[in-house]
């Protein structure tokens, strides 16, 4: 295949950045999208040019590190991660535009690499069950209906990639945050801190500069792990109950 790439190049956070065009011949349809970038980068290094920087690690669709905005869609045309996207999803002769995630809460560090530590800080605000190592009950002393366990698992499948934020015109992080809140609110272990958890995580989310949710559903439609919008509805309920019964009003 022959491909023309329009790639966002930006030296660092301060730099303004601009698009650069590269042409690639001899791309195999069996290559993954990132392997196509490997080919480009090998070519650039041989010419003595700085390779295009992008985040990636597992290349199996599970670590959540890869993050490209391809032809106007986070992770490209398929509902999967960039590392699991293959060139067979494109046509010979295509021009492909590649940008970083764009959101105030995700500043660009270089080229296509962004800073997503805001997600970590949201989890640090309350995305856990406050128990220490040791001294916990036997695992089977907490029976959990399979239905609830399965639903919790579906919510827990979020890989923290940030595509939901990149997809949203308001750069809202509701889907990501609601997935964690849902996982715990569906499980008996999560009940004790249920109220404070929702309050704290949402407060942190707001302070990081993520936008409001206007229910367009773009997040879920682009989420590679198919995290469902019902999680947002559940989070809103949690938040409402928390506020009504809160000690912090």
């Amino acid at each position: 295949m022959r491909i023309t790439l329009k790639v966002w190049r930006q030296k660092n956070t301060q730099d303004k950045g601009n698009f650069k065009t590269y042409k690639l011949d001899n791309i195999s349809p069996d290559m993954s999208f990132l392997e196509m970038f490997d080919v480009l980068n090998e070519q650039l290094v041989r010419q003595g040019e700085d390779p295009v920087h992008f985040d990636h690690d597992c290349r199996e669709g599970i670590c959540g590190m890869c993050s490209l905005y391809i032809n106007g869609k986070p992770h490209g045309p398929k509902q999967t991660t960039t590392c699991q996207l293959h060139m067979r999803s494109f046509n010979d002769g295509d021009t492909i535009t590649v940008e970083p995630w764009r959101a105030t809460a995700f500043p660009v560090l270089k080229d296509l690499v962004v800073d997503r530590t805001s997600f970590d800080r949201v989890i640090q605000a309350g995305g856990y069950i406050s128990i220490n190592t040791g001294g916990v009950p036997d695992a089977n002393e907490i029976p959990i209906p399979k239905k609830d366990a399965d639903k919790a698992m579906d919510a827990a499948a979020c890989i923290g990639c940030g595509a939901c934020v990149a997809a949203c015109k308001n750069a809202s992080a509701m889907l990501f945050v609601s997935a964690k809140i849902s996982q715990f609110s569906l499980l008996p272990q999560g009940q004790t801190e249920r109220k404070t958890r929702a309050e704290k995580m949402i407060a942190q989310m707001d302070s990081e500069g993520f936008g409001a949710c206007t229910n367009t559903g773009a997040c879920s439609a682009e989420c590679p792990k198919e995290i469902s919008l019902t999680n947002i509805a559940r989070m809103n309920r949690e938040y409402f109950t928390a506020k009504v019964g809160s000690d912090n009003v």
């Binding site: 660092n12 290094v45 390779p51 209906p145 399965d150 923290g160």
Partner: protein
């Protein structure tokens, strides 16, 4: 050098409780006077850092990814073992211990392995309490599956994403300690050297991957939880960033490297499709519970399949060779990984492999779908089947999957004693980074177990034994030893950047991987290993004269990151070859062609090789020195492994 494993005396089942009673304790109020560095935030590192924080120590945690949650543990699919015996099928701590020792082909320590089996049950309790959504039965209790090398169902799982869920559990505990101020996170910060003073580990040097800044961090103890080094083969199932740098630089400062040649080649990976390939994808071994492995009986049929003239689904039963079921009737498709891998290689070498390359065998679910329905198979393996289809473009519900072995795990690693301390006082290694529990071959679902055992339940106790002997005041990061180390590192980086040769870092990494796979892969022999050693030496020399690393140090520079790692892989590769040469027996994943039974199975030589190889660095380009720790077996009888 005398290697003291510090295994406590007394009966096997009492060693750990006795040891826990005997180790020195740090008074709760004094814990906050000690600082611990944890490098790595995978299962081992995150669980250790969180537990240290809970106990009151001050922790700095490092990882090279942008978030601790992305450590490579996230990719583990199949599950985690524990001797809970929830299935009432005869499991016990002793059986898990026995399976692990036998599975490791009697090249691990009884005391360590027994402890691992013992604390395995606590891990499951801990993870459930954290909210890890393990699979459950309709009655609400936990579900189990069976895994290779075991005849009981003791593997706990969370769909095909067990590692992810366990890591997110440990990450949540870690995040809680970050918010409590007990753990300080340093993401995108790579350890590039260990700093020592008076023979003790006192801190590390890191490179901030965003700014390039070289930084000194001092502490009372340093814990390496930096994962495995499978990427020395270039192609492996490890994440792209997985590397040996932290362990290797510690090795160059004096930490012994144990059993470097013990590599696990996993039997069920998606076959290589072309030169562009950047990594290999594992299909969880749990698939072997329901999939049947086969190749055509005749070379002619195999050739037709390779050319696309014959479809595998059209080949009648009597022309298929279900070679694992045939050769190993009692374990069948569930033989341990090394056995399954070697057999796949053999049938492909015979010309009966499938796929265009001839380097693949089938894993067929047709019978399972007929027996249990597609829905049941989908609920068990849905995400794995999707991933397979995504990558290969083929639908595994309709045509058999194709698989081939790939490098997956490294049993070797830094030598540690029973306390998980290396031979350098104050330097610990946990998780895949150490060599401790899996001998010459790791059983499925036991790496997650070991990582969490080390991090949650072993090192939080054993580290106190060392810290209690130290003064509260630590060596300052302004000390001369740190300055010296920073200078050395800066010099090395400048050297890499100044070469400006003709070849890319990947050119070298691929060439190294090729040598390692060819001569130090699924089967090894003296002649090949000797040849490999010469080739690696040449490659290393060329690297330092002809590599091209673009850009400078003071920026986000992925070429430089890679170059740094590949420089270490080149040195490690040579040591792996030395180790494979020394061990002229076959055991576990290490198959020496010179040492096999008449039936072509691996043949151990217990009289000569019942030892742990621990290598000591001697300086640039000098041959390393081998130290041997003899393995003592008091509770199991050494037998040739048989899975027939």
């Amino acid at each position: 050098m005398k290697l003291d494993s510090k295994i406590p005396g007394g009966p096997l089942a009492e060693k750990w409780s006795k040891h826990k009673f005997n180790v020195k304790l740090v008074n709760p109020a004094n814990k906050r006077k000690y600082d611990i560095i944890v490098v790595g935030t995978g299962l081992a590192g995150a669980s250790a850092a969180a537990s240290f924080g809970e106990l009151g120590y001050n922790v700095k945690a490092f990882c090279f990814q942008d978030s601790p949650r992305r450590a490579h543990s996230i990719a583990a699919q199949g599950g985690i073992n524990a001797a809970k015996n929830y299935q009432n099928d005869g499991d016990s701590v002793f059986r898990l211990f026995y399976d692990t020792i036998k599975g490791g082909d009697y090249r691990s320590r009884e005391g360590n392995v027994y402890r691992l089996a013992e604390v395995s049950v606590d891990i499951i309790d801990q993870c459930v309490a954290q909210g890890v959504p393990f699979a459950r039965e309709y009655g609400g209790l936990l579900a189990n599956r069976s895994f290779g090398g075991a005849q009981v169902s003791r593997t706990f799982y969370a769909k095909g994403q067990t590692g992810q869920q366990l890591l997110l559990g440990a990450y949540s505990a870690l995040s809680r300690q970050v918010s409590n101020g007990k753990v300080k996170l340093h993401a995108r910060e790579e350890m590039i050297d260990l700093v020592m003073k008076d023979g003790k580990a006192v801190g590390i040097i890191t490179r901030n991957l965003v700014t390039g800044k070289i930084e000194s961090h001092s502490a009372h103890a340093v814990v390496l939880a930096t994962g495995g080094y499978g990427n020395v083969f270039f192609l492996s199932t490890n994440a792209m960033g997985s590397n040996v740098t932290a362990a290797w630089r510690a090795h160059k400062k004096g930490a012994l490297f144990a059993n470097p040649c013990f590599t696990q080649i996993h039997p069920t990976c998606i076959p290589v499709s072309g030169d562009h390939q950047s990594k290999l994808t594992l299909m969880s071994e749990s698939l072997r519970n329901d999939g049947r492995v086969w190749v055509p009986k005749s070379k002619e049929d195999a050739e037709k399949i390779r050319k696309g003239e014959l479809k595998p689904t059209d080949l009648p039963e009597d022309k298929r060779d279900y070679y694992l079921e045939e050769r190993y009737p009692s374990f069948g498709n569930l033989v341990p990984r090394d056995v399954a891998s070697r057999n796949a290689k053999n049938v492909c070498d015979e010309g009966r492999g499938v796929a265009k390359t001839g380097l693949a065998v089938y894993l067929d679910f047709a019978d399972a779908i007929k027996r249990d329905s597609r829905k049941v198979i989908e609920s068990k393996y849905g995400n794995l089947f999707d991933m397979y289809q995504q990558i290969t473009g083929e639908n595994p519900y309709e045509t058999p999957m194709m698989i081939y072995p790939a490098v997956h795990y490294t049993m070797g690693g830094l030598w540690v004693d029973y306390n998980l301390m290396t031979n350098i006082p104050g330097l610990y290694a946990i998780g895949e980074a150490n060599f401790s529990d899996h001998g010459a071959n790791r059983l499925g679902a036991s790496a997650l177990m070991q990582g969490l055992a080390d991090g949650y339940f072993v090192i939080p106790y054993t580290i106190g034994d060392y810290l209690a002997t130290l003064p509260y005041e630590k060596v300052s990061s302004d000390d001369e030893v740190f300055k010296q180390a920073e200078n050395d590192i800066e010099e090395k980086i400048q050297k890499l950047l100044s070469i400006k040769g003709e070849k890319t870092v990947d050119d070298f990494h691929k060439a190294l991987g090729h040598i390692m796979w060819e001569y130090c892969g699924m089967s090894r022999n003296e002649e090949g290993l000797k040849k490999a050693k010469q080739e690696i030496k040449k490659l290393k020399e060329e690297f330092w004269q002809n590599v091209n690393v673009i850009g400078g140090n003071d920026e986000l520079n992925q070429s430089l990151e890679k170059a740094n790692r590949v420089a270490d892989f080149l040195e490690l590769g040579e040591l792996m070859i030395d180790d494979a040469l020394d061990r002229s027996e076959s055991c576990g994943g290490h198959f020496r062609e010179e040492s096999q039974t008449e039936e072509g199975e691996a043949k151990r030589k217990d009289d000569e090789f019942s030892y742990v190889s621990a290598w000591e660095y001697q300086g640039e380009n000098a041959e390393e020195v081998l130290h041997k720790e003899d393995l003592v077996f008091e509770n199991v009888k050494l037998t040739q492994r048989s899975y027939k």
